[in-house]
Symmetry: C2
Subunit: 189 residues, 2 copies
Amino acid sequence: MALRHAVLAALLDEELSGYQLAKAFDMGVANFWHALPQQLYSELAKLEKQGLVTGREVVQDTRPNKRLFKVTEAGVAELERFAATDNKPSFIRDDLLVTVQAADHVDTEEVIARLTERAAFADAKIELFGGLLRRIRGDRSEEEFLRHGERIGPYLTCMRGLAFEQGNRDWCRQSAAILRERRTAHAQR
Amino acid sequence: MALRHAVLAALLDEELSGYQLAKAFDMGVANFWHALPQQLYSELAKLEKQGLVTGREVVQDTRPNKRLFKVTEAGVAELERFAATDNKPSFIRDDLLVTVQAADHVDTEEVIARLTERAAFADAKIELFGGLLRRIRGDRSEEEFLRHGERIGPYLTCMRGLAFEQGNRDWCRQSAAILRERRTAHAQR
DNA sequence: CCATGATACTCAATAAAGTGACTAATCACA
DNA sequence: TGTGATTAGTCACTTTATTGAGTATCATGG
C-alpha cells in the first residue's frame, strides 16, 4: 500500500486539491507513481481521517470551491517510517513486453507497430521530463542544482523517469529494427 | 488483464507446470511480468476452462504428480488478438521512487541505505539476466543471434530487463552519491 | 445561444492483485 | 531420526486498481 505514501510525497512541496493531484498523477508529472482520480480522492479522504493530511476549503467565485490538502507532522512521520522500512523491489509490468515475448508466434507487423507507437510515446515523455527538469533547475546547471539546490527529491525521480523512457525508446527502436531486418531476410529466402 | 496473456506468452516455448511457471515468474526469468504462485494457478485454471491452454497429468514416482500446460491454437489466436490491439503504456510504480521523492523531508541516511540496497539487488539481476542471455544465444554473438536465431522474443524481453536494471543501478548509485555529497557539504557548513 | 471543455468532485461496481494459511509427499543432511 | 528445504499444489480473504456513470458551475468559441 504505497499509494498513500505516493500521495504524501506528492503533497510535500505544494498544497494541492484532489483535482490538481489527479492531473499530476495522470500526466506523469508524478512520474514515480500512477493513479486515477477516483483513487486519489478516496486516498485523500482516508489520509485526512487518519490525520496525515489536512484539507482546507478554498471558496472560489469563478470556479467550484475546492479543498487544498497539505501533509501534517504525523504525515511526515509516516513517510519517515516508510523510508526506513520499505524494500519491495520494482518489477516491470508491461503489455508491450508480453507482446514481444510472443513475437515469434504472432504477426510481426503488429509487433513492429506496437514498438513504433511506444517509441513515439516515449519520445513525448522524454520531452516532457526534459522540460520539467529544466524548469525545476532554472538557470543553474544540473550539477550545480544537484549540489546546492534546495529540494532535489522531485528532480531525482524525474531523472529516473527520463532515463526509463530513454531506455524504452532505445529498446523499442532497436527491437523494431531487428524484427524488420529479419522479416526482409526471411522474405528473400 | 494482461496476466492471462503473460501466462500464454510464457508457455509458448515450453510446456510447464504451474509450479515451474510460478518459479519462472518469481525469479524474474519471466522479466516481463511478475505474479505470485496463487495467481498463476488460478489463471491457468481459467485459461484451461476457456480452452486457451491444455493440461496433461504427468505421474511421477519420486515427486508429487504434476500437470503440464501448453498453449492451444485458440490460445495463440488470443495472443494474436492481444498483439494487434494492446496499447497501454507502462508506468513505473516503485516504493523506492516514492521514498526519493520525499528525500528532502526524511532522514537522508535511510534514503541512502534504500538506494544502496536497491543497487545491490539490481546488480544481482544484471548478472542473472546477463547469464540468461548468454545461455539463450549459446556460442553465437548477440548480433548473429538477433539476425538468425529461431526465437528472439524471450531474448528481446530479457535485454529490456537487463537495461532496466542497469538503469536502476546507475540511478541508485548516482543518487546515493549526490545525497552523500550534500550531507557532508551540509555538515561542514 | 448552444456546444464543448475545463474545473471540481462523488458513488457504485467489478476486476485484478496480494496475503496468509494449509496439505502432503520426498530429499538432503547432520 | 527429525529438521528443514523442495516439489506441487489449494482455499479463503482482503486490499488495490479499474471502469463507468453522474453532478454542478463557469469559460470559450463559433
